[in-house]
Every structure is written in structure tokens, then in C-alpha cells.
């Protein structure tokens, strides 16, 4: 397990417990069970305490944790018969975005999401989950397909943002994002989104303009990264803690602001400590959200989705 900087107290305790057990293994006569168990309990308590009061910046760190389950982990855990469909039919297949047909509780659906990768090789292949225009155009194509065959669309959001590259700009990054958002607002099938890690700005909205949006408890969704915001407004990228605070990017604040519909509880210590549990919880949330939308007519789904966004902004945070 990789520790985040604020997890240092926990790392110390778990380190000590590990040391004790290692010593016992080399000294067969030594019994450390009691001490080790006491340390485990202490570690468990420390973990609970830490995660009970995460600051917004700490949540950013958790949301970006490299061992957190990523899109493909959810696809594998929650869907059967996943059949990836590739390409935008214009230029390329963007590996930062995965999409395809799958079954969710036996029911055929379209699943689309950002995939960050989980080791150096796959991270490079996935461009760290930062999509190019082709990724958004692939998503548009798949949403169209889903719409024609009346399949619900499930999107999993996990991106630092759209890729800031030369080719991406030349091929119309902005237009691709705008069209993807537009497509989200047009399809006559249920569209549900879950922010599983980072919801980075326009690159996230392009998939998350949905009938229902859920966020994992320690995920973030923001107009700009705290570092980016700090360097612009504080003229100092090191002020990311302050920026994270001010931006109100946590699931808890965003629910209060009426921007998201649901928070999915994470295992103690975050999704990275118990991926299977987190994946199951997300599955339950998707099931519930699809349930809320089932039986609605295509035009109702479109109308309600639009109205939901038009109505946003009536709730502020109380002083």
C-alpha cells in the first residue's frame, strides 16, 4: 500500500506492527501476537480517525491515489460480457476512454469511462486518463448507438481533464467536448454517471451531463485543479490546500449545492484499501439510479435531464 503524506502516522504504526511480525518470524521463540494485535487496533483507529475528517486537499490526494480502483476494475467487477467498441471513425481510437456494450445485472447497457491505467506502461498507453478529441467522439458515437437501441448509458468519470496537447487542439478538443455534452443532453435513454476518482473540469462534464450523478465519498469534481486555481488566483501553485478548500470540490459540498444526486460511501481508508467493497457499493448505486429512471419515456428522460441542469444554481452554501 502506498501511503499519502497525511497517512504518515498510520504508516508508522503499521510499519511497527510489520517489524514486530518480521522479528518473530526470525526468532521462533518470540511471541508478539499481543503487541502486534494492539498495534493493528491502533492502526485501525488511526485510519478511521484520519478518514473521518479529510480536508478537501486530502480528498484530492485520495481521489488520485494510484492504487484506487479505476474504470476497468469497475467494468470487470460490475459488468458481464463487456465488449469494447473502439474508434471515432474519423482519426483514431483514444485509449484514455474505454467504452462498449456490456450487461449490468444481465441487462444490456452501454458503458463509457476514463481509464487512467495502473502501471507505467498502461498509464502511458491510457495517456493517464486524459482524453483527446477522439475519446469524446468515440463516446458520442457510442451514446448514439445506445440511443438507437434503447440501452441505458453508464459513465464512469475519472480524469484530471482533457489532454492539453497540440494535436488535440488542432483536431478540435473544445468542439469534441461541447458535442459530447450536447449528446448527453439529447439521448432518450437513462444516463447515469459515477465520479469514481477525479472529475476534472470540461473533460468530465462531457460524460457526466446525466440524469443522475453520484460521487464516491472521497472523489472530487472541480472546475479546475486546486494547483491550477492556486497558481492563477494565489499566484502560487503551493497554495493548493487553500484552493481545494475554496473550490468546494468534495462530494459533500457538491451534494449541498445540488450538483450531484448521491454519495457512495467508501470503505474505511478509501476505495484503495478495499477495492472490492468500493466496486460493490458503486454497483448498488448504479442499480438504484437506473431503478429511479426505469419506465420513463425517452422524451421525459431528455426533458428532466435538461431541466435538472437549467435549475442548477438555486442553492448556495449557508454561511
Amino acid at each position: 500500500m502506498q501511503y499519502l503524506d497525511f497517512e504518515k502516522p498510520l504508516a508508522d504504526i503499521e510499519g511497527k506492527a510489520e517489524e514486530l511480525r518480521a522479528m518473530a518470524r526470525t526468532n521462533p521463540g518470540m511471541d508478539v501476537t499481543k503487541e502486534a494485535e494492539a498495534l493493528d487496533r491502533k492502526a485501525d483507529q488511526a485510519l478511521r480517525d484520519l478518514y473521518k475528517t479529510l480536508t478537501p486537499w486530502q480528498k484530492c490526494q485520495v481521489a488520485r491515489h494510484p492504487e484506487r480502483p479505476h474504470c476497468l476494475d469497475y467494468v470487470e467487477g460490475l459488468f458481464t460480457e463487456f465488449t469494447a467498441l473502439a474508434g471515432d471513425r474519423a482519426f483514431a481510437d483514444d485509449h484514455a476512454v474505454i467504452g462498449g456494450l456490456a450487461r449490468f445485472n444481465d441487462r444490456p447497457v452501454m458503458v463509457i469511462g476514463h481509464e487512467k491505467g495502473n502501471d507505467t506502461k498502461s498509464r502511458i498507453q491510457r495517456n493517464f486518463g486524459m482524453a483527446r478529441p477522439e475519446g469524446y467522439r468515440k463516446a458520442i458515437r457510442l451514446m448514439d448507438l445506445a440511443d438507437r437501441f434503447r440501452l441505458p448509458v453508464i459513465t464512469l468519470i475519472d480524469t484530471a481533464g482533457a489532454y492539453p496537447g497540440k494535436g488535440a487542439e488542432e483536431r478540435g478538443q473544445a468542439e469534441a467536448i461541447a458535442r459530447s455534452t450536447e449528446k448527453c443532453l439529447t439521448i432518450g435513454v437513462p444516463l447515469v454517471s459515477v465520479v469514481i476518482g477525479e472529475g476534472g473540469s470540461g473533460g468530465a462534464v462531457a460524460f457526466a451531463t446525466a440524469n443522475r450523478v453520484a460521487m464516491l465519498e472521497h472523489s472530487i469534481y472541480s472546475v479546475i485543479s486546486p494547483e491550477g486555481c492556486a497558481s492563477i488566483l494565489w499566484k502560487d501553485a503551493e497554495k493548493m490546500r487553500e484552493a481545494a478548500e475554496a473550490l468546494r470540490l468534495t462530494a459533500q459540498d457538491l451534494q449541498k449545492l445540488g450538483i450531484i444526486d448521491r454519495i457512495v460511501k467508501e470503505p474505511v481508508g478509501g476505495a484503495q484499501r478495499a477495492p472490492k467493497e468500493a466496486i460493490e457499493a458503486v454497483g448498488k448505486a448504479i442499480e438504484a439510479m437506473l431503478g429511479e429512471l426505469s419506465g420513463k419515456k425517452p422524451e421525459t428522460l431528455v426533458r428532466e435531464r435538461r431541466q435538472k441542469f437549467l435549475d442548477m444554481g438555486s442553492k448556495g452554501l449557508a454561511a
Partner: protein, 309 residues
């Protein structure tokens, strides 16, 4: 022209205190360095007479030049919650907002108007880059929705002049949510089969390009306007190479298939009239001096005769 001069100038002057006036008499062209006298610059729609550089123009100034006789009616924008996040960086957001309001005399970064251009009724929206970098917050979102709704109600096209650094960070996710909200506004126009024409002006970047500013039926840009999603500096840092000359400029986008046309500010009005009249099946505009609004068009009897035949 006299009418505009007499009517608009006192209002403009009143915005500046006496002490500020001398400094504002001359503007240095940021492109070629020529010193430009304010009156000539305004008459030239803030385009440098030497190098044709298009400088920022306020929405009010743009509308005065765009609408026939400089006459337009403002459309009211529903006011959003102010500072919903109680945002504070080095300054309070409410203080930044007040300062921008005081400096511009406007409520926020977008102005709406209805009126006629070349005798063609339109609704227009113009973004004000001098107001907090034209950033898109809830007010701008409300403005675009109000403009679209008004256009649908009056069955008129919407012409939108964009100028923005992107989303307004001080409104956090509520600013990001203006991307879907303004996209809904564009859909209202499309469903009503009304032309939506976007004129991208310098600079239009970030979330604004990734929503309403890239969804026009016709995409026009002013010469040399910077248009892009990501900032050039961020891109250079990411890809660790120098970007080509003219990258993210209007002409570069035109070459890459992202725009329909690049049009000089002084030719814009005529171009808009031509496009709108064709898209809405109206006869060609009458060129030259416009007849007074009360007069019947000269060709009206002929049309009648034709209809009888």
C-alpha cells in the same frame, strides 16, 4: 452617425473621472506600437488603423456599431445567487465582482440586446473580456439562456460574440455547470430552427469554447483571435515543445477545419446580415443607405403584381 455620437459619448465620458481622461486619450496598439487617438480608434471599432489588430471592444460599443442607427433594446438577465460558495482567494470574490462592476458599469460579463441589423431583426449577446476576463459564471449562463429564450419567443436568430478566459473559478462547480446549461440554450434554438451564429473574438478559451461558443450553426472568428481549449503555456509545459507560429489563432483554426470564416470586424455586420437572410429565407438586403423604417420597400408593388400573375 451623429445620433450615436451625441447620445453615446456623454455616457462614455461619464464613466471616467476627470483625472482619468487624459490617460485614455491615446491607446498604444499592443501589436505594432502605433499610438492611436481614442476618437479615431472608436470610429474604427477598436481596430488599429496601422496593422489591423483587433482590440477588445465593449459589448455596448459593439452593439452601438452593429445595430441599425445604433439603436437596440437591452434584454434583462435573471440575476443569479451572488457568491454561492463564499469564495475567497487573496481577495473576496464579492470584492472582485464589485470592482469589475464599478470599472465597467455593467452587471457582469455579458450583455444582451434585441434590434435590427440591416433591417433584419436579431437577438444578440456579447461577452465582455474586460469584466473578470469574460469569465463564465452563473450570470453569463443565465444570460445565454435568456437570449435563447427571447430569440425563440420572437422567432429571431441569435448572434453571439464570445470573449472569455473560460469558467469563473470563484463559482466553482456552479460555473462548470454552465457548460451543460448553455448547451441546453443552444438546443432550444436548434429545435426552433433558428440560426445560431457565433462570432469568436479574442480571446475565447477554456470551458466557453467547450460549450456554447463551438456549437454555432455558423462559426465566424475575428482575425487573429486566440481560440482554444487549453492554454498555450500549459500545452508547452505538457508536450515540452514550442508551439508553431499562429497556433490557436483564428486563421490556424480555419486551416484546421474548426471555423467557417474569419471576418474583419468592419465587414461583420454585412456578413451577418447576408448569412441570416439566406438562412431564414429572406430576400437579399438592400445595400446602400437604408430607407427610413416607416417607408414601404420600393419593390413591394412589383411583388404583388408577380403574385397575381
Amino acid at each position: 452617425m451623429n445620433w450615436i455620437t451625441n447620445y453615446v459619448r456623454p455616457k462614455i465620458n461619464s464613466l471616467f473621472s476627470r483625472r482619468e481622461v487624459p490617460e485614455n486619450l491615446w491607446t498604444k496598439c499592443p501589436e505594432c506600437g502605433t499610438m492611436l487617438f481614442h476618437r479615431e480608434l472608436a470610429a474604427n471599432l477598436n481596430v488599429c488603423g496601422t496593422c489591423d489588430h483587433h482590440m477588445t471592444i465593449s459589448p455596448r460599443q459593439r452593439f452601438a456599431a452593429l445595430f441599425d442607427g445604433g439603436i437596440f433594446t437591452e434584454i434583462k438577465v435573471p440575476e443569479p445567487l451572488v457568491d454561492p460558495l463564499q469564495f475567497r482567494d487573496q481577495k473576496k470574490y464579492t470584492d472582485r465582482l464589485k470592482a469589475a462592476q464599478k470599472a465597467s458599469g455593467e452587471k457582469d460579463a455579458m450583455l444582451l440586446a434585441e434590434g435590427e441589423i440591416g433591417r433584419t431583426p436579431i437577438v444578440a449577446a456579447a461577452q465582455d473580456f474586460s469584466f473578470m476576463a469574460g469569465s463564465m459564471g452563473m450570470y453569463v449562463g443565465n444570460a445565454i439562456i435568456a437570449a435563447a429564450e427571447r430569440a425563440v419567443k420572437l422567432k429571431r436568430p441569435l448572434v453571439l460574440f464570445s470573449a472569455s478566459g473560460g469558467a469563473r473559478m470563484q463559482e466553482g462547480m456552479l460555473s462548470l455547470m454552465q457548460m451543460p446549461r448553455t448547451t441546453v440554450a443552444v438546443q432550444l434554438l436548434k429545435e426552433a430552427r433558428l440560426p445560431y451564429i457565433v462570432v469568436l473574438t479574442h480571446p475565447t478559451t477554456g470551458g466557453v469554447t467547450a460549450s456554447y461558443a463551438m456549437l454555432g450553426d455558423v462559426q465566424i472568428a475575428e482575425p487573429n483571435a486566440q481560440i482554444g481549449f487549453a492554454g498555450a503555456r500549459v500545452i508547452e509545459q505538457t508536450i515540452r515543445e514550442k508551439l508553431p507560429e499562429g497556433f490557436q489563432r483564428a486563421e490556424y483554426l480555419l486551416d484546421h477545419g474548426m471555423l467557417d470564416r474569419v471576418v474583419h470586424r468592419k465587414a461583420l455586420k454585412e456578413e451577418l446580415v447576408t448569412l441570416i437572410r439566406m438562412l431564414t429565407g429572406q430576400p437579399p438586403a438592400i445595400r446602400g443607405d437604408l430607407a427610413a423604417p416607416a417607408e414601404k420597400p420600393a419593390d413591394a408593388p412589383a411583388e404583388k403584381a408577380e403574385a397575381k400573375a
